[in-house]
Amino acid sequence: MNILTYLIPISLVLGGAGLLFFVFTIRSNQYDDPEGDARRILSGEYDDKPKQ
């Protein structure tokens, strides 16, 4: 049962990290143009960083 002391915190931390990333994506407007973003990755113009 000692394994639980590792596994439970690990699963919570991983899940929490996913949640934090999700919050970050919402806050940085990453869902404003899903269709456009899907196409932009096909273009070579934005390879270095997203155009501001």
Partner: protein, 728 residues
């Protein structure tokens, strides 16, 4: 954990959250112009790159970013740049562009409520996944200390997660209770809270059953329903706002220094305003200078253009056809006749407000029933066993089992699927109960001008003229931008006619075109000016020298799909009625052409609304389809209403559904889909009820473990969602 989830309060909360505020701030200090263009034709990665590159290369543009989802480009540019400078740039790159009024669009810039819901949904999803893992361990046989540990961890996750995620339900329930009413959120909040309290109590006593997973899963499923609901409505709202934003309210004011472009809101009584041919009157006024013809069809439904000369009154919303006019404003803004009529509509009782949605009706039956059932099982068990803990546990189980998870998803899941399907076909569902009301419709009332007809004339008697007459008429028609001239031009050119050589062609605004042909005067225009006779049809008269005047007669061209739509509606068993403000002869001929039995001509706006009221009183459910200001009262009075995108703003606001394309064809389809959707909603209610019928006796009997509760809840929610997806 909750603290980190809340957006931090920045120094200027409005700045970070609402670009609209930023934009307004920019307007005060013009260091930068923010321009938004609508690009209806872009569809691919190459389109985006082309538009952005073209705009980026234009002088004065600082940045341009295309949003493909909304088919828009937002441009930051030097303050002296306007949309007129940039539209040619985009059109030069090969794409259609229209200016959007940024003030009318401000509300859609950021969907704050949607974002907040999504955040709550994410937290609830995260918590329910983790708690479900722990619960599965408990259900599969964890005992003693391990079980207590798992329960405690669950409690630590669930309590803050529920406190954050379930706030919308708590708030709604509180508002309802304060108003001494019951809504769906009251049993929801009670179930969540009671589940938490009994589970905490059980956990402190090392009890066997804890409902933490149920409390959070309930929140998650219900939030999903709320979010779907919100999404559907915000998509519709932003599309509707975009339609309004396409009409940028601008006017040309004549000042001693010349002409200046101003916003319509800045016009004052007494201002002189220049209205170009093709422009719409921004205010009520009196013509000060110029002659022309006016198209009043959006206000009255009349198709015949009206002669306009100095001294004549004009109303906001009329369209100037031929010559430039200068008008002196007599009423502006909210005082214009356009606004006064629109305000009258707002006062009238609408079909919308009379209707109680299926969900509300279900809630009205459901909420008291659940409370009574739960209270009875609590009292019953307390009297039977004398144990408060057992009684409370069972009452909580009953509330959880009956909690309207499936009911909360039943309606939004279906309306989302149906609205998505109809949106693809070019129909915008603006109101949340529109589909339910549309499904009940048994009578369809059409307006004529601009709805069944496209509002553009079509020549009917080309064959009555000699080739030489047509050649002269074509040459004259080419000299004018009047709708009748344009119709004549396209009809003649389609017939392979080439224009005759004429000299000295000039357009006399409000009358027609005149020229010299082999020394003779030739004229094409209004009957009185050319010397023609009387006709009850729309006509332009041609006279060559001293010869007799001949009439080109026109009929209003049918809108795409009008015939098929009327036929399909009639075949579906609906009663089709035509109501118009136009003359009896035109209305009768159109009704005959479309096979419509019942029609009403020369109807005033009040007549239309009264007729619809009369039909409703006879028990009919009327769908009104109309576009003009004269239809708004009728649109409001009807059980459900549709207007085309070309309609006046007031008419679009008054209607539940907007047709985005130029064809009427999606209407029968909309009725079909609405009926199917309502059937699905009712099926969903049935499914949810059956789950309750099976599970509630178990809960009341005290046999319902958290596992059974979780299974029943998830299974019913998933069945309901899948059933809704069958609509696609």
């Amino acid at each position: 954990m909750t603290a980190t989830m809340r957006p931090p309060v920045s120094a200027c909360p409005a700045c970070s959250a609402a670009p609209a505020a930023e934009r307004l701030a920019e307007m005060d200090a013009p260091t930068e112009a923010h321009i938004v263009l609508s690009l209806p034709t872009i569809h691919c990665a190459a389109c985006m790159a082309t538009v952005e590159r073209a705009l980026g290369a234009a002088p004065g543009v600082r940045s341009a970013r295309v949003n493909l989802t909304m088919k828009r480009v937002s441009i930051e540019a030097d303050p002296d740049l306007t949309a007129e400078d940039l539209i040619p740039v985009v059109e030069g790159a090969g794409y259609e562009a229209h200016e959007l009024d940024t003030t009318a669009m401000s509300a859609t810039a950021t969907d704050r409520a949607g974002r907040e819901l999504l955040m709550r949904l994410a937290v609830a999803g995260f918590a329910s996944m983790n708690v479900m893992l722990l619960s599965i361990a408990v259900w599969s046989g964890a005992e003693g200390q391990t079980r207590d540990l798992f329960h405690w961890i669950s409690a630590i996750i669930v309590v803050p997660a529920v406190a954050f995620s379930a706030q919308p339900f708590f708030k709604n329930a509180y508002t309802a209770l304060k108003a001494r009413a019951l809504n769906m959120d009251v049993p929801i909040s009670l179930a969540i809270l009671l589940a938490l309290v009994t589970s905490l109590w059980e956990t402190t006593l090392s009890g066997e059953h804890a409902y933490f997973d149920a409390a959070i899963a309930l929140t998650f499923f219900l939030l999903t329903g709320r979010y779907l609901d919100h999404r559907t409505r915000s998509v519709a709202r932003s599309a509707a706002e975009e339609l309004a934003a396409l009409e940028v309210p601008r006017a040309f004011r004549v000042t001693p220094e010349g002409e200046e472009q101003v916003s319509v809101a800045d016009l004052r009584v007494g201002d002189l305003i220049h209205v170009r041919p093709g422009g719409r009157m921004p205010v009520d006024g009196v013509i000060a200078e110029g002659t022309s013809e006016l198209d009043r069809s959006l206000l009255t439904g009349e198709t015949l253009p009206v002669y306009a000369a100095p001294g004549q009154d004009v109303s906001a919303g009329e369209v100037n056809l031929t010559g430039p006019l200068t008008i002196r404003a007599t009423a502006v803004g909210r005082d214009t006749s356009l606004h006064r009529m629109a305000d009258l509509v707002a006062v009238a009782e609408s079909g919308r407000s009379r209707y109680t949605s299926l969900a509300d009706r279900a809630a009205k039956l459901y909420a008291p029933g659940v409370h009574i059932l739960s209270a009875l099982s609590f009292v019953g068990w307390f009297l039977y066993s004398g144990d408060l803990r057992v009684a409370l546990n069972i009452a909580a189980a009953v509330l959880i089992i009956t909690c309207p998870c499936a009911l909360g998803l039943a309606v939004p899941a279906v309306t989302t699927a149906a609205s998505g399907r109809l949106f693809k076909k070019g129909l915008l569902i603006k109101d949340s109960t529109a589909l339910e009301r549309l499904a009940q419709v048994d009578t369809v009332v059409f307006d004529k001008t601009g709805t069944l007809t496209a509002g553009t004339p079509e020549l009917t008697n080309l064959g009555d003229f000699t080739r030489r007459d047509l050649q002269i008429a074509l040459a004259l028609a080419l000299g004018s931008a009047h709708p009748l001239s344009r119709a004549l031009t396209s009809a003649a050119q389609d017939a392979g006619i080439t224009p005759e050589q004429l000299e000295d062609i000039r357009e006399i605004p409000g009358h027609g075109t005149e020229a010299l042909w082999r020394g003779q005067t030739v004229r094409l225009g209004r009957s009185a000016w050319v010397g023609g006779g009387q006709t009850d049809q729309t006509a332009a008269w041609l006279r060559i020298g001293d010869g007799p005047a001949q009439a080109f007669t026109f009929t209003d061209r049918l809108r795409d799909g009008a015939e098929a739509t009327v036929k399909a509606l009639q075949e579906a068993g609906l009663d089709v009625i035509l109501m118009s403000g136009d003359t009896t002869a035109t209305v009768e001929s159109l009704a005959h052409r479309l096979g419509i039995q019942h029609w009403l001509a020369e109807a005033l706006p009040q007549d239309k609304a009264a007729r619809i009221q009369a039909l409703s009183n006879d028990g009919a459910h009327v769908l009104m389809v109309g576009d003009g200001l004269n239809d708004t009262a009728a649109l409001t009075a009807a059980h459900a209403s549709i207007s085309p995108a070309s309609a006046l703003d007031a008419a679009r606001v008054a209607s539940d559904i907007v047709l985005l394309g130029s064809t009427l064809a999606p209407i029968p389809d909309a009725v079909q889909t609405a009926r199917k959707a309502t059937r699905r909603i009712k099926e969903n209610f049935t499914i949810a009820t059956w789950y309750n019928i099976i599970a509630v006796p178990l809960a009341v009997a005290g046999l319902c473990s958290p596992l059974i509760a979780a299974l029943a809840m998830s299974a019913s929610s998933i069945t309901v969602s899948l059933n809704a997806l069958r609509l696609r």
